[in-house]
Amino acid sequence: MAGKIQPEQLMRVERPVRYTGNEYGQVIKDADAVKVRVALAFPDVYEVGMSYLGYKILYHLLNKEDDIWAERTYAPWPDMEKEMRQLGAPLVALESKSPLASFDLLGFTLQYELSYTNIINMLDLGGVTLLAKDRGLAEPIVIGGGPCVFNPEPLADFFDVFLIGEGEDLLVEAARVVGNWKAAGKPGGRHGVLLELAKLDGLYVPAFYEVSYGADGRFEAIAPKQETARLPITKRVVADLNAVDYPTAPIVPFGEIVHDRMMLEVFRGCTRGCRFCHAGVITRPVRERKPELLKELARKLADSTGYNEISLFSLSTADYSCLAPLITDLIDEYKNDRISVSLPSLRLDSFSIDLAKQVQAVRKSGLTFAPEAGTQRMRNVINKGVTEKNLDDAVEAAFKAGWSQVKLYFMIGLPTETDEDIHGIADMAYRVVDKYREVMGRRGAKVTVSVSSFVPKPHTPFQWMPQNSMEEIARKQAILRQRLRSRDVTLQYHDATTSRLEGVFARGDRRLGAVLLAAWEAGAKFDGWSEYFDYDRWARVFAEQGVDMDFYAGRERGQAEPFAWEHLDTGVSRAFLWHEYEKAQRGELTADCRHGDCTGCGVCPKLGVKVIDWSEKHAADQAKNVPVQG
């Protein structure tokens, strides 16, 4: 008989409130009265998973349906896992405390490659058969979504189905299909429901496809095994965010979570076109919410949560077309309620400093900017359209406004990078230090330089390029260590090994499933946490499995080489990505299509959607003398 976690075990673990649920706003339904039960699983700890906006949205939309009950589950921290395994207590969902194996639909979000072993671990702890092909009729249909789903191939063995793109409509549709199949007595078995699911636009059933590899080991082709299996599978996208329901009464946890505040998604997508950016491709096009709607949502959020901070959330909030008036209005409206407004990131310009002066949450800490690269040439290569003058203006304005702490984000290992570009990072840091002395007449700036190692991602212009070797990254880090020996500058960087592993799985294929399973069997989990990441164990497992990491991460890929992820269509064409890759080599910029000309990426015509920008719409309407809506 399965054991059950008791107070005795909870007393022994760190932060037991991670496992007990019962938060304000959780949804409880009668398990026997609903048609389909869904568990939304996040393969990391509660504090991380509870901060994820995507699940707040899906939890709300699924539970809005009377006959669907969606619950939550998170990866237990290793101390809790030990207690669970000792007792034989399965991983359960927080609301009903039902084991994961008893759900109809079990969803995982694929947020980062280093959480993949946690997915396997959670399946195991939940009593779910690991390999999709071996699962029994009573077991849940395991579905994956999220950003990494645009190359889910390393996980294909473990999932029944993947949801490509935005899940607002699609996950509810999928739950309905599973519910109807269950109500009808599960006709055709698991194969039967997968056939039905594969009919929905945006759902991908990996078992319905055969992958072939060439003699040299390269991916060659993916072909449907079923007549009905489509190719490619095009992502689902919500055409107008103003028309979808937003979670205005999210769960308010007891324990502090990573983003412990109201999250107001102001827009989705980003068309700045940074060539390294995966999110910028898969979330196209830009779709803004109307300022009036945002203010209405903010009011409902404030009333229902009791939070005292509201975060304007998006990939690049400073780019919201109506940001300045929106911030002013929100600050005015909530001053008496002691609700502050915060921005998750700032653009590198003085406009952003003007905004930062207004919002409270940024004041508490220092300012964070992302120049991404140290020289103009390198920034042109990655299409990050900021200049040294932008930096000068921004930090000058910041210092004049009273800030002294500045954090700068950079990447190393970018294409065409030379040592000059690495030195450029150090030069920029000192430029900020000098600027402070120039503006304030004394020293006292605290500059933090945070350097990550670039990982080439699928569906981006850099999907063809080799990732820097770990030795090369270590050499470049050593240059920075050497150059940034100053009491005004702090250098932060990560070990190159985690980026390497991320790089392997980001552009991996189905053959990596066996490696993942073997790594999990060898004890890998929480790979995103330095205290649990063990590169030597991974290296050993890759060697034992006879799989070469360099083959996936370190190899320059040819212009015509087929990729293991191209059956999943973001709407952005391969031709456009290659064109961008070539422009990158020449250091040519591509303008943001939001304000300038269409860059021809292909998303809008392919998906039948368009950029929604409210200030541009306002201007266009005025030009046509049309009354402005809403």
């Binding site: 107070p7 022994r12 496992y19 019962n22 308010v252 007891f254 324990g255 949560t305 009791g306």
Partner: protein, 234 residues
């Protein structure tokens, strides 16, 4: 204007047993905000709600009676305040009692004199012996106890017997013991209920499975004419 305070007695139920003291206070603050009570805030850049709890409660401990008070900026009918707050509380926190205090009065945390607890745990010994030993302890003139302090600070010398005002035990047919314990909370230092049981366990060589003990705070008291009276008049 005289300061107005809303004093509250709330539960911490089984479903939120593992919520910490700070988390409990934060949950109450958010509930007060949802209820749109006219709470007062500190001045300055990071305004804080003028909310305080009478006594900290450990992770894993439930309570029938927790006490808190919040300063208000205006007077409103008590029934209206209590009704709004009740609706806004998370599950596991129930408003048991509320009252308004006008004018100067000491903070609740300053008047707390002691607390009583009920500890339940499995027991397979002889209940008669247990009761006799508890009586023997209560008859002692003193029971020196060294309380280890966070690193760096010297240990505190406490008299466990003087701190424990009352102690009794019952054992039911299912083998579950209920130990009632009243502990004084003088400024010089006090002891947690399970620490007290651990000390007695060592002295009497009991074999109580303390790791399985469930602790419930029954009441908080203030001094009144030489005796204890529950906070907010019980």
């Amino acid at each position: 204007m005289q300061p107005i305070r809303l004093r509250m007695c709330l539960s911490k139920d089984e479903s939120i047993r593992f919520v910490s003291h700070l988390e409990y206070a934060k949950a109450l603050e958010r509930a007060l905000r949802r209820a749109k009570l006219p709470a007062a805030y500190s001045e300055g850049f990071n305004p804080h709600m003028k909310l305080s709890l009478a006594s900290a409660l450990a992770v894993g401990t439930t309570s029938r009676n927790e006490y808190a008070e919040v300063e208000l900026t205006e007077k409103r009918p008590l029934a209206e305040l209590a009704g709004a707050l009740s609706k806004a509380l998370p599950p596991g926190m129930r408003l048991i009692k509320a009252l308004l205090v006008e004018g100067p009065a000491p903070k609740l945390m300053a008047v707390v004199a002691g607390a009583s607890y009920l500890i339940s745990l499995p027991f397979d010994g002889d209940p008669v012996v247990l009761k006799q030993q508890i009586e023997a302890f209560m008859a002692m003139p003193s029971f020196p106890y060294e309380k280890r302090s966070p690193k760096g600070k010297p240990a505190k010398q406490l008299d466990l017997r003087a701190l424990i005002r009352q102690m009794s035990a019952t054992v039911d047919e299912a083998g579950m013991a209920s130990i009632a314990l009243s502990i004084a909370m003088p400024p010089a230092g006090t002891i947690k209920p399970l620490e007290a049981l651990q000390a007695l366990q060592e002295h009497f060589q009991w074999s109580l499975p303390l790791e399985r003990a469930l602790v419930e705070r029954v009441a908080l008291y203030e001094n009144q004419q030489g005796g204890w009276r529950p906070l907010l008049g019980g």
